[in-house]
Structures are given as C-alpha cells and as structure tokens.
C-alpha cells in the first residue's frame, strides 16, 4: 500500500485558503428574501395571542408566520419539535414567529412589530427535579408523539422522553461480594458546539410543489427525509444541496432551520428565503450538548476487581429530545466505560426541562458518561490504595470479555489496554517528583500532577444505516467520486480519494471528489455523524472500485482475448498477469473501447458500491442486551498539568492521546483530528458552560461563553495510534473523529487530584471552582 497511511493534503486546500470555498452564508439568489425570527423571552409560557398585523403591513415584508399557520412537527428519533412554538414556548429563545422580507433590516423591523401575549407557567430546569410526580410537564401530549418504537421508551404523563435500561448479571449479588462500595455524583452543564459558521439555510418552495434547499448541514439526506416526513411530501420532491460547511460537531446533524425557511418561501410567493442565525441565536435558539447528572455506585474487592456497578444517568435534554433520546441510549449501552464488569445496572433517563434543547455533539454522550466513570475509577482506586493505572489494568475489556450489552470482545475488536499502556508510558506515569521539583512547587504555589483516563465509542445509529458511493470515469481515465456524506473539514473526502486510488491502483490526484452535495445527484448516505463516514463510506468506495475494476476487466478480456481471471490492474492499466506488455490503459476503457475499424464495446463505465451496517440489533427493552456497535474505537489520554494554587488556574503542559484506529489511512489528517479534538475537550474541561438565571440564558456571546483560544493550547499534544485491524473496516480502519475530545476532562480531573489530593465532581474546572475546592480542603 503506497497511498494508504501516507499524508495527503486536503483536496480542497486552495479553495479554503483563498476564500473561494462557498458556504451557505455566502450564497445569494435572484429574488431572495431574508428571514428573521421572534423568540420567547420566557422559559415556559402559554402563548395567548400573537398579533402580526402591523408586521405584515410593513413595506417589504412578504410573509409572517406563527406556529398556528404551520402545525408541523419535526424530529429524528422523537418527533416532538414544532417549527415555530405551538400553544406554548418551552424555552427562552424558542422561535415563536418568523418574517421574510426583502432585506434583513426590514425583517428585523417587522419582528419588532409582532405582539405576543404570554402567560408564564411554572418551569422546570433540573432533570432530577423534573422526575418528581408534581413537576410541571414540558410536553403534556408526549403520549401522542410519533417516535422510533422499540428503540426508545417515553413515559407519557412525565418528563421522561426515553428511559433506557441495561442489565447484566445481578447487581445485588455483585454488591454482596464487594469489600468496598464507592458512591458519587457527577455533573456536566450544557455546552455549545460553536461552529464558526452559524446555522444557515435557504429554501425555495416552487409553484410545482417541489422544494429546493441549500443548507449548512451535516446530512443532506437526513434533511430531505425529515422534511419529507414532517410536511408529508415525497422525498423525490425535495432537493437538498450542501455547499461547504463551516463546522458542524454534531450541531448540524439532523434538521434545523430548513423547515422554517421552506414554509416562509411558500408563504412568500415562492421566492427563495434565506436565514442566517446570529451568534446569539446559535447559543440561545439552536440546540446544544445536553447536560448530565450522574449517580454511580461501584462495588470493588480489596484485590481491585469491580464486581458491581449501578448507574443512573439523568440527561438534561432541554425542551425537545428529537435527537437527545439517542444520546440517552448511547450513553447507556456505553455507560460503564470500556470495563469488564460482571454485574451492571444502568438506567439512563432523557428528561425534558425548560432549557435550550439538546442534540448530537462530538462524542455523543460519551464525554459526559466518561467524565463520571473515569473520575469514579480514580476515586475507587484511591480508596483501595491502588495506583489508578493498575486498577484500570485489572478491569479493562480484553479479548474474551463480555460487554454490558452481551457483545464478546475478540482480538480484532481493538485494545484499550494497549492505548492506556502507550499513553501512560509517554506521559511518564508513576515517575516520582524530584526533591527540587517539590521545593519549586512549595515556593511558587504551582503544583504539577498527572492523570489518566480511557475511553471507547462506537457509532450510535440505526441498525440499518446505509451508505453508497459512485465512481465514474472521465474521458482521460481520471475518476469522479460521488458520495453524499459531507466533508466539513475532517478530511474524509481526501481519505476516500485515497481509498479509491489505493483500490484502483492509480494516483490520488486523478480522483476528484465531487464537492457540490446534492440529494438529486448523489448516492444515498444516512448522516455524516458518529465517526462513521470513513468506515462506511470507505467500505462503499472499495466496493464501487471493485465493481468498476470488474467492468474494466470485462472490456479488457474481450480486447486482449484473455480470461478475466488472468487480468490484473496497476499503473492505470489492465494487463495480462503473465504478459504485462499486453494491456489496455484506463483511458482506453473509460468511455468505451474503440477498435481500429471503428467498432466499439463497453461504454462509459460507472462503479457503484453499497455498504450497510452488519449484524446490528435493537436492544432488549428490559435488559439492553444486543449488538449496538459496528466498530468500537478505544483510546486513552495521559495529561500533565500545572495548577496555580493561588488562583485555581489549570495549565495543561502535555497531553498524550492514544487511539486504536485499526489502520491509519491519512497520517496527517488523523493527527489533526486528535489535536483539534483534544482542544475542544479542553474547552469542555476548563471553561465552557451554559449558565442560566431563572431559565434565561446568560452565556449568549463570546464575551460570556469562552472557548479556547490560541493562548489556551497545551504546550504539547502527542497523538499515538495503535493499529489492531478491524477486519471489516476499510483497510482495517475505524473512526476517530469524535474520540479525541472524549475523556479529556476526566484525565484533567484525575490530574487535579494527583496534584492536590482534591476531587472535582463537576466540569468545567474553572479557576474559581478549583480555587474554592482547594480552599475548602484547607
């Protein structure tokens, strides 16, 4: 393999450094109108009346809509979200009315003229409070919503959007064998994805009843499917284009502003309507990562084996759980971490509150549950007087282990043990501080500590998730590669070009990945989420290449008068194995072979490849047993930090991140995923959080919501790749898109303990929180 494993620059590099890459933000159309929205100032309020008459009279206004006029609900797994609030608003920031006008300024003016009469009702903000029998209901009609039955389990009459149960062994018997029982609570607030390009969509609802959309989205076919279901229109009448996307991180998965602009277009004489979310709307109106409260009870023997674990996860889904219910599910089936434990009971509740609603976010619940699990593991080790490394090594999954859903780990599943070994070694785990270092710490008040944490994640997706790819020849024997997953910078298109080139045995420069994503033209793909695109897209591309090679050999076999089995490919030629001088070039067969006398055979060749998830099952409703995962990527971080005990400020000196990726397909892009993901994890660890006062969001700008800048970067980020081949992955590869940010907070939290002997249970570990934790210890 020459191409696979090398470092190929992103194929769209020039477009991105010259400003030529066009994003949805940049698109303008003839006759285009601009939309603005009016949002609810209350976290929970009945809408008594809406008066839009003055807004409608403003010159330049084409349409004003309220929830009453467009009674549609949308949702991926739980269809619970209205396009505009209907009857009541469930969070401060929820869209209540929308305007389309000839300019953005007029649309903004018109929004100010809309009068809404609200009657605030009792809100609920805490997911545990929301479980109480007398808690206000966020969704009174939960029992009437459609959702994916048999996979999610809503409890009508309560705020539980879904309750997932995992039962392995018998926890009562397990705890009876335990020498120590360790019980703790952990918490993570909501956070924002912060794509630099805010959500943006344009729609034109044609007079023929067909809808065309241009949108900053991760998954064109999911937008088409969900819009189709919501509006009751055939998907064939909906066309979704996705140009360049300025960051997604899960926040642009599923469907967002597309239905609203589609409805506005219909109401506005079928003119195209564009909306660009303001940064404030990105924080306050569009969805976030869910918050989590976790309660974990762990039983351990004095030898350091975990014998039982009982976990309750309470997800703050916010006001809608259309995507969030699946985070509650993924957080459950992966919810004990990559450990071999005989007796486990997990209850994962996705709970409605009156906060901004949640959705997918890089890591999909795993950063959250592994904050709790990996802190708990360290605390358990300390209580036993064991080294946290040794404690983990005694309990980690290994070949022969059975996961909490009944999956048997084998030699090719990937090795979390190797990841932890590599991370611990590189960070210098167990190396005691020198006398001088201790003296220095005493003098400066800046103490150092190291921490470890492991992780695992598999794609969380429907059992029948599919993906297709097309390879079509151009005249000169170059190839256009068509896929409909979206490359928003992660580099998958480049990697898929490498996969195609490797399989076709031709230079990667001769594979063009078609960038204009369009559901009318591109083969189907479910969604660009879950670190699944390289795995599934890669498999589809390999199959498409094999299909194309087979067709090339068909033609060559006739021309060269040789059986197909005797033909080989290489150097852009199809040749006879035994006599390589007898060959045709790719160019000669690309559009059909022509004999000297003018006769032609073959035709323009098109390779097609399909891949669908293999062997996945729905999980048993009572026990969670089944197979939820096509490929588990394991990993481990080792960090060294310095805490200024005078201020509580944490500085990360070095972070080592090891992942068993199966096979590195593009070294440079793989390393970049790690570096970028680690810093995003660092943001969740030390500075990012949603803060509300009485349900009103306080952190709505970059002044109040802090993301890491170049000044916050660790001195050293050190990626390590372990390569235990995934036998059904493309060239043995697994996904590694989300994993770098998972367990970064846990490793830092463990390092805080290592440095100071103080346990932190909540992120973010802001200077204030760390300072007071240290002070309270003293």
């Amino acid at each position: 393999m020459d191409i696979i494993g090398s470092s190929v620059h992103r194929i769209e590099s020039v477009e991105k450094v010259t400003g030529e890459a066009r994003y949805t933000h940049d698109i303008k159309m003839e006759g285009m109108l601009y939309a603005r929205i009016l949002t609810s100032p209350y976290p929970h309020a009945k809408i008594l009346s809406i008066d839009t008459s003055r807004a409608k009279e403003l010159p330049g206004v084409f349409a004003v809509l309220t929830g009453e006029e467009i009674p549609y609900k949308v949702g991926l797994y739980m269809v619970d979200k209205p396009v505009l609030a209907q009857g009541k608003a469930r969070y401060q920031g929820e869209p209540v009315a929308a305007v389309a006008a000839v300019t953005e300024e007029i649309a903004r003016e018109a929004v100010k003229l809309i009068r809404v009469e609200y009657e605030p009702v009792q809100p609920v903000f805490d997911p545990v409070e929301a479980l109480k029998p007398d808690a206000p209901l966020v969704h009174e009609k939960l029992g009437e919503y459609s959702y994916v039955k048999g996979v999610f389990f809503p409890e009508p009459g309560t705020n539980v959007a879904s309750h997932i149960k995992i039962r392995k062994g018998n926890v009562f018997e397990g705890f009876a064998k335990a020498d120590r029982i360790i019980e703790n609570d952990f918490y993570l607030p909501q956070v924002n994805h912060v794509p630099l390009e805010t959500h943006s969509s344009i729609a034109r609802w044609g007079k023929n009843g067909e809808i065309e959309i241009w949108t900053s989205a991760q998954s064109p076919f999911a937008v088409r499917n969900l819009l189709s279901v919501s509006l009751g229109i055939s998907p064939a009448k909906i066309r979704v284009h996705v140009p360049y996307v300025g960051g997604g991180f899960g926040g642009k998965a599923g469907i967002h502003l597309e239905p609203l602009v589609a409805c506005l277009s219909k109401a506005a004489d079928n003119r195209p309507v564009k909306i660009v979310a303001t940064r404030e709307e990105e924080f306050n109106t569009l969805p976030v990562r869910q918050g989590l409260k976790a309660h974990i009870k762990t039983g351990v023997t004095k030898e350091g084996r975990i014998v039982a674990e009982e976990i309750n996860y309470y997800w703050d889904a916010g006001s809608y759980a259309d995507y969030g219910v699946n985070i509650g599910r993924a957080g459950a089936y992966a919810g004990a971490g990559p450990y071999d434990i005989d007796n486990v009971s997990i209850d994962s509740y996705t709970i409605y509150t009156n906060h901004v609603f949640g959705t997918a976010y890089r890591g999909f619940g795993h950063l959250e549950v592994l904050w709790a699990i990996e802190r708990q593991m360290d605390i358990a080790a300390h209580e036993l007087g064991m080294d946290p490394y040794d404690f983990r090594m005694k309990n980690l999954l290994r070949p022969g282990s059975i996961t909490i859903t009944g999956e048997k780990i084998n030699e090719n599943t990937g090795s979390v043990i190797k990841c932890l070994e590599a991370a611990a070694k590189e960070i210098g785990w167990g190396k005691p501080k020198t006398e001088e270092e201790l003296e220095e710490e005493k003098n400066t008040g800046r103490v150092r500590g190291k921490g470890l944490a492991v992780l695992h994640k598999a794609p969380a997706m429907p059992t029948n998730t599919g993906c297709a790819a097309i390879l079509k020849f151009n005249d000169d024997g170059t190839i256009n590669l068509l896929v409909s997953g979206v490359d928003y910078g992660q580099g998958t298109y480049t990697t898929l070009a490498m996969v195609a080139a490797e399989q076709m045995k031709m230079p990667v420069e001769k594979i063009k990945v078609v960038y204009d994503n369009d559901t009318d033209m591109m083969p189907y793909d479910w969604q660009t989420v879950a670190s699944r695109f390289t795995f599934m897209g890669g498999n589809a591309v390999i199959r498409a290449a094999d299909d194309l090679i087979n067709q090339m050999k068909d033609v060559a076999s006739r021309v060269l008068r040789a059986p197909k089995e005797e033909l080989e490919i290489g150097n852009e030629r199809i040749y006879i194995k035994h006599n390589p001088d007898e060959y045709l070039t790719y160019r000669q067969v690309a559009l059909g072979y022509t004999y000297p006398n003018g006769n032609a055979i073959g035709g323009p060749l098109i390779g097609r490849g399909m891949y669908i998830a293999q062997g996945l099952t729905n999980l048993d409703p009572k026990t969670g047993q089944g197979l939820p995962a096509i490929d588990w990527t394991y990993g481990a971080h080792g960090v060294e930090i310095e805490i200024d005990t005078n201020t509580g400020d944490i500085r990360v000196l070095k972070i080592v991140s090891a992942f068993d990726v199966g096979k590195v397909l593009n070294k440079e892009l793989c390393e970049e995923q790690v570096v970028g993901g680690v810093l995003q994890g660092l943001g969740a660890a030390i500075c990012e959080q949603y803060l509300y006062r009485d349900g009103v969001l306080l952190t709505r700008t970059f002044t109040d919501y802090k993301v890491p800048t170049s000044m916050d970067v660790p001195d050293e980020i050190f990626p390590i790749f372990i390569e235990t081949p995934q036998l059904d992955g493309p060239f043995g590869a697994r996904g590694v898109a989300e994993h770098p940010m998972i367990s970064v907070p846990s490793a830092i939290g463990n390092a805080v303990y290592n440095a100071t002997g103080v346990n932190i249970y909540e992120v973010p570990m802001t200077p204030e929180k760390v300072y007071f934790a240290l002070k309270n210890r003293a």
Binding site: H193, V194, G489, V713, I717
Partner: protein
C-alpha cells in the same frame, strides 16, 4: 445614503450605501467578496478580519464610510492569480485549517502581524492570533505554519 469611493485589493469602487453599513457587509454584499466571513458580528471571533492600510481590523466593527480613503485588503487580494501568497502556501503545507471558515480572517491577521513583526517568537504568534477563534484545528497547525514561514522568509529573504 451616502456616496463613497472604496479602495479594495487595489481596485476602486463607487458605492452608494446606507451610512450604517459595516465594511463587512459592503464587502460581502455590495462587492460580493464573500471570502471575508461573519462569525459573530461583534468583534469577538476574528473571522471578518481584513487589512486597513496594512493593519488587521475586524471589518464587522468598521463602518464602510470610515474605510473611505484607506487601502483595504481582503483574502481575495492575497493570491496573484493561481500563484498563492507564501502564507497561503504555508497554511496548505501545514494543513492549518479544517472547515476553513475562520481561515481567511486568520490569514489576514497573520499577514498584518508579520508585516509589522517579521521575526516573532512562538508566544508572540499565539498572542497575535488570540482574537481569531478556530474550533477545528486546535491552533497548533496554524502556529506551526507561521513559525515555518518566518523561518523560510528569513532564509531566502522572500516575501510575497
């Protein structure tokens, strides 16, 4: 409404604009130079950075009227046809971008910075781009690209 003459990337434009329009809006919507991005509209993210008389500014915080009489350079003004500037080349060499949305602003900040300080330390580079948010790269490839560029310029005295 006001008539102004704006000089952008060496070309002059006669414009009739609303006095309240920002330079960012005029660049993107009147001149259709959409390489300059809007990330927040409040001067907090740096995505809209352009050069005004060689100095990096957030174009969302500058009124277009104020930009009259000044030389404005945007990302579109950097490459000479297909010949990229050395900063753009360094960005490609180090793959100092992912989604690419912050990239034009980031490159303009770096251009303004290096023109003023051709021999910065790593700390100075990090400080120089602290006002440009990037959510994808973790900044390390960007800093590496600038360090490498500084070294190369020092070696061959070349600056384009």
């Amino acid at each position: 409404m006001k008539d102004i003459i704006l000089k952008v990337n060496g070309r002059k434009y006669n414009l009739r604009i609303d006095e309240s329009m920002t330079l960012l809006k005029v660049l993107r919507e009147e001149l259709e130079l959409t390489g300059t991005k809007e990330g927040c509209g409040e001067g907090e993210c740096g995505a809209c950075t352009v050069l005004m008389d060689g100095k990096a500014v957030n174009s969302c915080l500058v009124l277009a009227c104020e930009a009259e009489g000044h030389d404005i350079t945007t990302i579109e003004g950097l490459a000479d046809g297909e010949l990229l500037s050395d900063i753009q080349e360094a960005f490609i060499e180090h793959q100092a971008f992912q989604c690419g949305f912050c990239t034009p602003g980031m490159i303009m900040t770096i251009k303004g910075f290096l023109d003023e300080n051709p021999n910065p330390t790593e700390d100075e580079i990090e400080e120089a781009i602290a006002g440009n948010l990037c959510r994808c790269t973790g900044y390390k490839p960007i800093v590496a690209a600038v360090k490498d560029l500084v070294e190369r310029r020092g070696n061959d005295g070349y600056n384009r």
